[in-house]
């Protein structure tokens, strides 16, 4: 993975000391909250309902064991012994004290991490496929491209005060596991007929109160000119995006208002003006950065393993875990393992300090020192030999990390909601807990099959409810929590917006409604048909009748 050079270290350390001074001046009263707020936000420090919250960037979701152990240490020393992995592949701490924030950032800097640009109207952490560099189906490892974008966008002087926040996602595989069509810019790595690497560029995706699926404005931009193209998009947005109304300030609104073709023309015009300038990274530097992401030297191994087969035959949970939680690796005899952070009755995305330490230990021993965070709030061991799966499963299961539900109904995305978040209108986590308790039967879950439930506690959509096969949106109805039910969304390459089915429910009613939707699907599905495919074939009426009764 990428290693900081002396400039990176110097920049991040200088930023920590700058923030230490700012915190001291805030505590002494030299800075008012009005003056301090933008400074703390630039360092990822929010004020939430009960405490400050620190959002730490995990660049494109990649961690090594040392970094994961440091995250555990911070949870233990400065917080309440746990952290929350987010849909942005980051980690959030719910209880840090202002007085400790500079020390936390200093501890992060020691392991080449920071919280810079995890808030504010700037380019945020670039997200990608959690299986990057390992996936059997990828064209190229998207992390090198993501790292180039990270270096370009970090402290970019022109784009530090955009009309609104800006999120870029990139996939290296045609199968989109990074929800690129739901981002301000989505990038799909491709090769042209000459075998050269480039990106398809999509713009104007986003969730929030105006969900929009991104549109392609360039089918192929050579990797060597990608930054010029991105610079052109950001420049058009920075100049023309609305600053008078924060609800209309995201690039999706500009693209909709301008029209995709006209927006594309404006970008191309800017691109022609700046391409071949100094912005793009020299080829030798691209090679240097790619070397940081060289695949680990994995031997080709047998695809069969007697120990694995024996345990799979004897233990249904292990068999289900191998089936659901492993993903085909490009090197035979290997897989990527998804560690589910969705124990039934638990909090989606939460991990304790001890669990983080354990994952770090396992990654060091069995996964070439690498861990990933997925936007679906799970942790991944990208490079695992199949013959080690039994040992890994036993260690994980003993620590409460053995849930075999990846991709199934209980692998729920949920934002922190009103339990923690100052913006939320309703709680998300207890709904996820109630659903996972209601469906606490692995055989039933496997029978139901692939089904993604995504829960947001407010219209800002951190829980991706617009992209849920079943989406749940918490709203405030006359001071009471109320939950809307949406169906038919997708965050993948077949992206679609979920549609509201009908009137909302209280916190108990929404769980019953989900069960009725699932029952209707089970009753109507054809052989091998997933929930999403069935919904797309059937339309909403069958589900409306199941949930609300005949009209």
């Amino acid at each position: 993975m990428y290693a900081y050079d002396t400039f990176d270290h110097a920049m991040v350390n200088a930023r920590v000391e700058e923030f230490r001074d700012q915190v001291a001046r805030r505590l002494s009263g030299e800075l008012t909250e009005e003056e301090f707020r933008p400074l703390r936000l630039m360092n990822g420090l929010y004020l939430q309902l009960h405490a400050y919250m620190l959002r730490v960037a995990v660049p494109y979701g990649t961690l090594n064991s040392r970094q994961m152990r440091r995250l555990a240490h911070i949870a233990r020393k400065y917080d309440k012994g746990y952290g929350h992995f987010t849909t942005r592949q980051n980690i959030q701490y719910n209880w840090p004290k202002l007085v400790d924030a500079p020390d936390i950032l200093a501890e992060l800097a020691e392991v080449e991490m920071h919280a810079i640009q995890t808030s504010g109207n700037c380019i945020r952490n670039v997200t990608t496929d959690q299986f990057a560099g390992a996936a059997h189906d990828e064209v190229a490892d998207p992390r090198a491209t993501a790292e180039i974008i990270r270096q370009w966008s970090t402290f970019h002087p022109e784009f530090s005060f955009l009309p609104r926040k800006f999120k870029i996602a990139i996939t290296g595989a045609p199968k989109d596991r990074a929800a690129v069509k739901w981002h301000d810019i989505g990038l799909v790595l491709k090769k042209n007929e000459a075998g050269e690497l480039g990106v398809e560029v999509l713009v104007g995706g986003g969730m929030g109160r105006t969900p929009v699926i991104a549109k392609t404005i360039a089918d192929f931009v050579p990797e060597s000119e990608m930054l010029s193209y991105l610079e052109a998009i950001l420049r058009v947005y920075n100049e023309q995006g609305r600053r008078d109304n924060k609800y209309k300030a995201r690039i999706k609104i500009l693209v909709e208002d301008t029209g995709t073709e006209e927006f594309k023309r404006l970008v191309e015009e800017e691109y022609e003006a700046i391409r071949a300038s100094f912005i793009d990274v020299p080829a030798e530097e691209v090679v240097r950065i790619r070397q940081f992401f060289a695949p680990p030297p994995l031997p080709v191994l047998a695809d069969e393993d007697a120990g694995l087969d024996a345990l799979a035959a004897a233990d249904f949970r292990f068999r289900a875990w191998v089936k659901n939680n492993t993903f085909a690796h490009k090197v035979p005899g290997h897989v990527s393992v998804t560690i589910s952070l969705k124990p039934h009755g638990g909090i989606p995305g939460d991990a304790t300090d001890a669990q983080m330490d354990l994952v770090a230990d396992i990654a060091e021993e069995y996964s070439h020192d690498e861990v990933r965070v997925s936007h679906e709030q799970n942790l991944i061991l990208p490079h695992v030999a199949k013959r080690d799966l039994v040992a890994i499963w036993q260690k994980l299961d003993a620590a409460g990390l053995g849930s075999a539900n990846v991709g199934l109904l209980t692998d729920i995305i949920a934002c922190p909601g009103l339990d923690y978040c100052a913006l939320a209108n309703a709680r998300s986590i207890p709904i996820a807990q109630a659903i996972t308790n209601r469906f606490d039967d692995l055989k039933r879950l496997e029978d139901i099959g692939q089904l993604k439930i995504k829960i947001s506690g407010c219209i800002n959509s951190c829980g991706h409810h617009h992209a849920g096969h079943i989406g749940i949106l918490g709203v405030d109805r006359k001071g009471e929590e109320n939950y809307q039910l949406l169906l038919g969304g997708s965050g993948e390459e077949d992206a679609s917006k979920a549609a509201i089915l009908g009137p909302g429910f209280d916190e108990h009613g929404i769980v019953d409604a989900v069960e009725k939707v699932v029952a209707a699907y089970m009753g109507e599905r054809k052989e091998g048909e997933t929930f999403l495919a069935a919904y797309r074939r059937l339309g909403p009426d069958v589900f409306k009748e199941a949930v609300y009764g005949a009209r």
Binding site: L47, L98, L418, R427, I429, P430, G479
Partner: protein, 106 residues
């Protein structure tokens, strides 16, 4: 005569050093809402805000808000679910939030 409010109100804020939720009482800031001073008209709200904002200036608290209050036999409780959550702590991880130690300091 001061303009009436739609209902009784109280003051909530966060402590500067750690963000701990605090309610304004006659004895100063408290972590429990029970003894919150309740305003019944706009003049009383203005008076409470003057006290609270003085403590903002003194760098003790931030994020001062006027929120609805309910007055019952057990004392004052917040009217809105958001402030109720602030008073109680998260409804999840009740092994770790305010629920373990309502006077959580450390």
């Amino acid at each position: 005569m001061a303009k009436k409010l739609s209902g009784p109100q109280m003051i909530v804020a966060n402590r500067l050093t750690d963000g701990r939720v605090l309610f304004l009482t006659a004895e100063g800031w408290a972590v429990e809402p029970t003894h919150s001073i309740v305003a019944h008209d706009e003049d009383e709200v203005t008076a409470l805000l003057a006290v609270a904002n003085a403590d903002v200036k003194a760098n003790l608290v931030l994020a001062v808000e006027v929120v609805s209050a309910e007055v019952g036999e057990g004392g004052v409780r917040p009217g809105h679910i958001k402030t109720q959550m602030q008073a109680r702590g998260p409804s999840v991880r009740t092994d770790l939030g305010y629920q373990v130690s309502p006077f959580w300091e450390n």
